[in-house]
Amino acid sequence: MSTPDNLKYTKDHEWVRIDGEIAIIGITDHAQNELGDITYVELPAVGKKVEANGELAVIESVKAASDILAPIAGTVSEVNNALDDEPEEVNDSPYENGWICKLTDIDASEVDGLMSAADYEAFIK
C-alpha cells in the first residue's frame, strides 16, 4: 500500500496536493483497495463551492457508494472527465491518473490540519 510523502491525508481517506493556487484531490490507495472495483465516479460540477468536509463526489463500486468529502474549502475548477470512461483508474492509479478534481479559491494553510503520510499510515494500521 503506497502513501506518497508529498501529499496530505484525511481521516475519510482522501488525499490533497497543493500546487500553487490549486488543490488536487483524490482517494488513497488504502481506500481504493477497501472499496474494491470502482465502477463509477459521480464528479462535481465545475464552479461548485464546497466547505471543508462538504460533499464533493461519490464513488461507486458494484455494491457500495461512498461520499468523497472536500479536505479543504474551495471552488471546483476542474474535474477528471477521463474517469467517466475509465473509473478503474481510481483503482489502478489513485495518486496520478485517478485524481478526482481540482479546487481553486483555497487557503493553502488549511492543509496544515491534515495528516502527513506517516500519520496516515499509522491511522490506517
Partner: protein
C-alpha cells in the same frame, strides 16, 4: 392451525434444544407490560367458509355492467396463457432476484420486459417497473428536477387529473413549483406552453393520448422545451403505440405510463404496473431496479440486477428514489401479453380499438342532442357533449346495464355535460348499438 407445520411435540423438542423450558422464556427480556391483552378479532375459519363468504362479497360488485369506462384504465381481453404462465408459483413465490444464479427466470423475463418497453416507446432504457402510472409520473418529475437542478414543472391539463393530484401531493414538502396549462379545444396549448417554459423549468409533462382521448404529436413542444434546457416527460397509453407515433421519435426525454392494459386485470385499482423509460445518458438518475446482461465465469450469458449503487439499500438518504418493491409479477404479465400479441398483433389491436371508437362516434353522434367533440383526432376514447348533466345520464345508464363512461365534471369544472367514453376490442358492434339505444332512450 393452518399453515403451521410443527406439532406441539415438535415445539417442545425444539424449545428443549434451544435450552429454554417454555416459549415465554424466549421473550423474558421483554417487559411484561408491553404485551397486549386479547386481540379482538374473529376466530379463524375454514377455507370453505372463507371462500363462500368472499364469493358473496364478490357477487355484491357490479362487474356485469358493459364497460365503456376508461380514464386511463381499460377493459381489454386477457389471453388465458397470461394467467397460466404468470400464475406459475416459480414466478409468484420468488423474491427480488438478489441471488442471480437462483433467479435467472425472473431476471431474464424482466430483461425482456425492459426491452419490449424500449421497443414500444422508442426509448433507450427502461427500468424493471414502478408501482403504477401515477407514481411513475411523480418519479419522473423528481428525476427531471435532479437532472436539471431546476425546480419548476409545467404541467399540461390534458394529463390524467388523478395523476396531477398525485404530483401535487408528493411535492407538497419539497420546493417544487407547478404551472398548469389549460388545454385549448381538447389539445395542448402551444402558445401558453411556450410562454410558460423558462430557464427555471425542469420539465414539461404531457400525456398522449390526453385525458380527453386526443392524440397529438408533441415534437414541436419537445423542441420548445429543449430550447430552454427543459426536459420533456410523456405519460402514454401502451396499446396506442401499436398505431401512433412513439414518444421516442418525438424526442421525449422520459416516458412513463400505466401498463394495466398489458394483460393485467382491472382488479379495482391494483396491482398495476408503472413503466418508465429514458435516454441512456440519464440512466444513473433513473429510479427503480434495473436488470443488465453479463456473463458467468464460463462466458455464458446471464442477467443480474445492476447499477444498484443508485438505490436506497446502498445510497440510503442519497438514493435516486425510495422505491424497493416494484410490480415485478405485473411486468412478467406484460412481457407475456406483448409476446403473444407480437409485432402484427399490437398493430391490429390498436387499429381495432381506434376503428371501433370511430364507429361509436358516428353511431352516438346521430343521437339528437349528443355532440361528438371532433377538434382533435382520438384513439380509443372520446368526449361526448350531452344536453344535460353527464353524471345523471351515467347514473341512469347503470340501470340499463352500462358503465357508460366517465363524467368529466368530476374533475373539470364547466364540463358537467361532458362524458368520456372508452372503447376496447371487447366492445362488439351490437353492444355499441345497444348503448346508443339506451342513451337515446334516456335523453
Amino acid at each position: 392451525m393452518p399453515f403451521i407445520a410443527n406439532t406441539d411435540e415438535q415445539r417442545k423438542e425444539m424449545l428443549k434444544d434451544i435450552g429454554v423450558s417454555s416459549f415465554d422464556e424466549l421473550l423474558k427480556d421483554i417487559p411484561a407490560d408491553l404485551f397486549a391483552g386479547e386481540i379482538n378479532i374473529p376466530a379463524g375459519k375454514s377455507e370453505m367458509e372463507v371462500t363462500n363468504q368472499l364469493q358473496k362479497l364478490a357477487n355484491r360488485n357490479a362487474n356485469n355492467l358493459t364497460c365503456f369506462l376508461g380514464g386511463g384504465f381499460y377493459d381489454h381481453f386477457i389471453p388465458s396463457s397470461v394467467d397460466a404462465l404468470s400464475g406459475r408459483s416459480e414466478f409468484y413465490t420468488a423474491y427480488t432476484p438478489y441471488q442471480p444464479e437462483a433467479s435467472q427466470g425472473t431476471l431474464q423475463a424482466i430483461f425482456e420486459y425492459q426491452s419490449v418497453i424500449c421497443r414500444l416507446t422508442g426509448m433507450e432504457v427502461a427500468n424493471a417497473s414502478l408501482y403504477d402510472g401515477g407514481t411513475a409520473l411523480c418519479e419522473a418529475a423528481m428525476m427531471a428536477i435532479n437532472i436539471t437542478g431546476r425546480n419548476r414543472i409545467v404541467l399540461d391539463s390534458g394529463v390524467n387529473p388523478i395523476y396531477r393530484n398525485m404530483l401535487y401531493s408528493y411535492s407538497k414538502n419539497l420546493s417544487i413549483e407547478f404551472e398548469e396549462i389549460e388545454v385549448k379545444h381538447g389539445q395542448s396549448d402551444r402558445t401558453k406552453i411556450e410562454a410558460a417554459l423558462n430557464e427555471d423549468t425542469a420539465a414539461i409533462i404531457f400525456q398522449n393520448p390526453n385525458f380527453f382521448g386526443g392524440v397529438d404529436d408533441f415534437s414541436d413542444v419537445v423542441e420548445m422545451a429543449h430550447a430552454k434546457g427543459c426536459l420533456t416527460i410523456a405519460s402514454v397509453y401502451p396499446i396506442s403505440l401499436g398505431l401512433i407515433k412513439p414518444p421516442g421519435s418525438m424526442g421525449v426525454d422520459i416516458v412513463t405510463g400505466e401498463g394495466q392494459s398489458l394483460g393485467i386485470p382491472l382488479s379495482f385499482g391494483g396491482p398495476y404496473l408503472g413503466f418508465m423509460a429514458t435516454r441512456m445518458k440519464y440512466v444513473r438518475k433513473m429510479p427503480g431496479r434495473l436488470v443488465g446482461e453479463t456473463e458467468d465465469t464460463n462466458g455464458k450469458r446471464g442477467y443480474v440486477l445492476t447499477l444498484q449503487a443508485r438505490e436506497q439499500h446502498i445510497r440510503r438518504d442519497k438514493a435516486t428514489s425510495n422505491i424497493c418493491s416494484n410490480e415485478s409479477l405485473c411486468a412478467v404479465r406484460a412481457i407475456i401479453y406483448l409476446s403473444l400479441l407480437g409485432k402484427q398483433g399490437i398493430q391490429d389491436l390498436a387499429y381495432i380499438c381506434a376503428t371501433k371508437a370511430e364507429y361509436a362516434k358516428i353511431r352516438l353522434g346521430k343521437i339528437k342532442g349528443v355532440k361528438v367533440k371532433t377538434t382533435t383526432p382520438t384513439f380509443n376514447e372520446f368526449t361526448l357533449e350531452l344536453p344535460c348533466d353527464a353524471s345523471i345520464v351515467v347514473s341512469k345508464m347503470i340501470d340499463k346495464g352500462f358503465a357508460a363512461g366517465f363524467p368529466l365534471g368530476r374533475y373539470y369544472s364547466g364540463m358537467e355535460n361532458f362524458l368520456l367514453v372508452a372503447i376496447t376490442e371487447k366492445r362488439t358492434r351490437e353492444e355499441i348499438g345497444m348503448y346508443a339505444e339506451a342513451l337515446e332512450g334516456i335523453l
